[in-house]
């Protein structure tokens, strides 16, 4: 549990000697509490205090990073149960599962498609994070061939799933030097799996049927010197997964219970059919999974999940915004119209994409509405005629769009009268309400 400045102060020598560069021990303690300085700046702190402070500086949920060829996926290190309390930091990694009974060519085809999958949402390119290769054939030759086929088709991080440590070892050999996530250790095989994790310096999942079993096995694995652990509770129902993950997060974040202070992996692919799998993955994303393994990867399946992940992991204090300004779309000329919108990312991209898709040139004036949608900003007084007129002047729109036609979003048609007053030499038009209808509007009304 993080300590307050006062708690830290009590552990310092309280001599105010200034050797740390701060005027008092308390000032230094405050900086420590804010994690802005390192403890070693104070040469006088006792060994006992050092140990205590180090313990409190350890995050309640360990950060686990899966790396491969310059790609990284992080999970863990979360500090709140509910996103409105601060924010969630590390989006759950999405891994597509490949079973080793597929032929190498089929594997390569599937992996290549998922590997290159990318979709643009509010200006951000969203992708899948990696692959989970599972030994179902029982043959270590098939497993290592499957791992090799995956690695040949993608450079992204990999999770290896096998019950048998001998089979696992063959897969690890293929990825020597990479430290993939080993999935994993159960009650029967944990010692052998822990040895592999040590040998390959790789993170290890720990499975248990109950929280007691999980915590027990974590302690055993830790006893073998393993620190990078991912929890893989055995439950497969929505209710079981939800309860288990809520409790794991509560125990870690609120109780600082070290034995369960790790991210959790969810195998949504085990849900059965794609419909159930999607619901399971959606729950995992909104409720406390650090890694999610899916079997389906059709774009219409992946796209909604990847957007959900982006939404839930947006910092609630900072809406995603774009820079206010005058944007040129499809090389506009001075005779082309000006469409006006706000600088909330979702709004901007809905509109910009439609104009672009219409193929017609236009100027897009993005007013500073403090990152709010059209109606939100309007209701909050951040998107009115005065502000729009101010943007027109600030970005010198009149000199670029000499035709002086400006189009308002249909939702704020009420502003047109006032805007005419603010911009007397402009032709103020009201556009459609929804961005989808912009191309038709531009084709019919603007030409």
């Amino acid at each position: 549990m993080a300590l307050s400045g006062i708690q830290i102060y009590k552990m310092l020598p309280q001599t105010n000697c200034k050797d740390c560069g701060y005027p008092t021990c308390l000032a230094f303690a405050m900086k420590l509490a804010a994690k802005q300085v390192e403890l070693d700046l104070c040469p006088h702190v006792s060994e006992e205090s050092k140990a205590q402070l180090a313990e409190s500086a350890t995050p309640p949920q360990r950060l686990i990073t899966l790396k491969a060829n310059g790609n990284e996926v992080k999970a863990g290190n979360e500090v709140v149960l509910f996103r409105h309390e601060k924010t969630y930091y590390n989006m759950p990694g999405l891994f597509v599962r490949i079973k080793d009974d597929l032929l190498a060519d089929a594997i390569k085809e599937k992996v290549a498609a998922a590997d290159t999958y990318s979709t643009n949402y509010v200006g951000i390119d969203l992708v899948l994070d990696g692959f989970a290769v599972e030994a179902v054939s029982g043959s270590s030759a098939s497993f290592s061939a499957a791992v090799a086929a995956v690695r040949a088709a993608s450079k992204k991080p990999v999770i290896l799933i096998a019950q048998d440590a001998g089979v696992m070892a063959e897969g690890l050999k293929v990825l020597d030097g990479e430290a993939p996530l080993i999935f994993g250790a159960g009650a029967e095989n944990w010692e052998a799996m822990a040895d592999l994790a040590t040998q390959y310096k790789a993170p290890l999942t720990v499975t248990g049927n109950t929280l007691d079993e999980l915590a027990d096995l974590v302690e055993k694995v830790k006893g073998k010197g393993i620190e990078d652990i991912v929890l893989a509770p055995a439950t497969r129902s929505l209710h079981g997964e939800l309860t288990t993950r809520v409790l794991i997060w509560r125990l870690a974040i609120k109780k600082n219970f070290r034995s369960l202070g790790y991210p959790v992996i969810s195998v949504a692919g085990d849900a059965g059919d794609p419909a159930k799998e999607m619901v399971s993955a959606a729950q995992a994303i909104s409720k406390y999974a650090g890694f999610v393994v899916i079997d389906s990867f059709a774009p219409d399946f992946v796209y909604p999940l990847i957007v959900l992940r982006q939404n839930i992991y947006t910092d609630p204090q900072k809406p995603i915004q774009v820079q206010p300004g005058l944007y040129e779309i499809n090389n506009p000329k001075p005779t082309d119209p000006v469409l006006v919108t706000t600088n909330f990312s979702i709004t901007y991209f809905s509109v910009a994409n439609e104009i672009e898709g219409s193929g017609l040139p236009a100027w897009l004036l993005v007013a500073d509405a403090e990152g709010m949608s059209v109606l939100t900003a309007w209701a909050a007084g951040k998107f009115d005629a005065e502000r729009i007129a101010k943007s027109v002047k600030a970005f010198d729109v009149a000199s670029k769009a000499t035709n002086r036609t400006i189009v308002l979003p249909g939702h704020v048609a009420v502003l047109s009268g006032e805007l005419e007053e603010e911009l007397p030499d402009w032709n103020v038009r009201v556009g459609p309400r929804e961005a989808v209808d912009i191309p038709a509007f531009m084709k019919q009304a603007m030409t």
């Binding site: 509910f82 996103r83 409105h84 999958y117 990318s118 979709t119 643009n120 949402y121 049927n209 109950t210 929280l211 007691d212 915590a215 027990d216 302690e219 439950t235 129902s237 929505l238 209710h239 079981g240 939800l242 309860t243 288990t244 809520v246 409790l247 125990l251 609120k254 109780k255 219970f257 034995s259 419909a275 159930k276 999607m278 619901v279 959606a282 729950q283 909104s286 409720k287 059709a298 774009p299 219409d300 399946f301 992946v302 796209y303 909604p304 999940l305 957007v307 959900l308 939404n311 839930i312 947006t314 609630p316 979702i346 809905s350 898709g357 949608s373 209701a379 929804e434 961005a435 989808v436």
Partner: protein, 324 residues
């Protein structure tokens, strides 16, 4: 190592609200629906009571809508031409409730009259025994005119009248009081505004066990994170004992999701969006599931396949885990 299960202690409870009235209760419904009563956060069976499962309504309109996705219109086909037939089909598709949304204009483009609204509601009541929610077209003066007529013509049915907003609640609340109906209080994603509106409604004398609360949610990709968080905050406030937030929450993922380009449009969209129909169903389902996880008691959907998927999720989530 026995792990001590950390239980949150709550002292508040969501109110229990019953929708619809049977013949003995002064209405004509063959069944009623009861929601609310939770004493814990969504599906945390190990630390509190969740006496009533979240329920699903399907939305229908008084006439074939002009602005719905063609996927939905093709699916309901000519059933959408008659609210009675449509309601029956929605019941057969597994809905617990029907939401009838009144249109601003009739098929000829003339304003919907109170008589036509009453007629549509009566037809639906005759076609199905399920409890009914009736929504106005969403323009204050028209809503008032149509909903008052509907409320009076269906006295005692315990319909749910949608929707009351800060600028337009008095008339609807008054007619709900006079005619034994329920109302929905809708606020734009703000805990304090929700509380205020609930206070205003309760000050008029409508008992709070006849009020549902719609926090407004947004769709997946279009603001759902705000809805998700405001619902979690509202539910926490309710469980902490704040009486004016202790109302069951109704959300409209069908309306929200089917408004988005992802659901509405099948051509000229990025290849990375995939198959249109599946994407649209997934959009609605995921919007609904995210809201279910954050505290929804009533979900209003539009597509029967989404209903099937969300229903399966509810069944699963309402089972208490045997061991943790």
């Amino acid at each position: 190592m026995p792990v001590e299960i950390p239980k949150d202690k709550w002292n508040g409870q969501v109110r229990v609200v019953t929708l619809g009235a049977t013949a003995d209760q002064g209405g004509t419904r063959t069944s009623t629906v009861t929601v609310g009563g939770e004493t814990t956060m969504p599906f945390m069976h190990f630390e509190g009571e969740i006496p009533h499962r979240p329920v699903i309504a399907l939305e229908i309109k008084d006439r074939r809508p002009d602005d719905w996705s063609s996927l939905l219109l093709d699916l309901w086909s000519d059933k959408a031409d008659d609210p009675a037939v449509w309601a029956k089909a929605a019941e057969e598709a597994g809905a617990d409730l029907i939401q009838l949304s009144l249109s601003l204009t009739n098929a000829d483009g003339n304003p919907t009259t109170p008589e036509a609204a009453v007629d549509a509601v009566k037809k639906v009541l005759a076609a199905t025994g399920l409890p009914l929610l009736v929504f106005g077209p969403g323009q204050a003066d028209v809503d008032n005119e149509l909903l008052v007529a509907v409320a009076e013509a269906t006295k005692g049915e315990r319909l749910v009248l949608g929707i009351c907003e800060d600028k337009n609640y008095r008339t609807i609340v008054a007619t709900a009081m006079a005619n034994d109906h329920l109302v929905i209080a809708r606020c734009p994603m703000d805990v304090n505004l929700s509380k205020q509106l609930n206070i205003l409604i309760s000050d008029m004398g409508l008992p709070l066990d006849r009020v549902l609360m719609d926090p407004t949610t947004g769709a997946l990709g279009y603001g759902i994170e705000y809805g998700f968080s405001v619902m979690e905050r509202l539910r926490m406030a309710a469980l902490q004992g704040d009486a004016m937030t202790q109302l069951p929450m109704i959300v409209t993922p069908g309306f929200e999701a089917w408004k988005t380009k992802e659901s509405k449009v099948g051509v000229d969209v990025p290849e990375s969006w995939g198959d249109w129909e599946q994407r649209a169903i997934n959009w609605e389902t995921i919007t609904a599931v995210a809201l279910l996880e954050s505290g929804a008691d009533i979900l209003v959907l539009r597509h029967p396949e989404s209903l099937k998927r969300v229903r399966a999720a509810i069944e699963d989530l309402m089972t208490a885990p045997e061991t943790v």
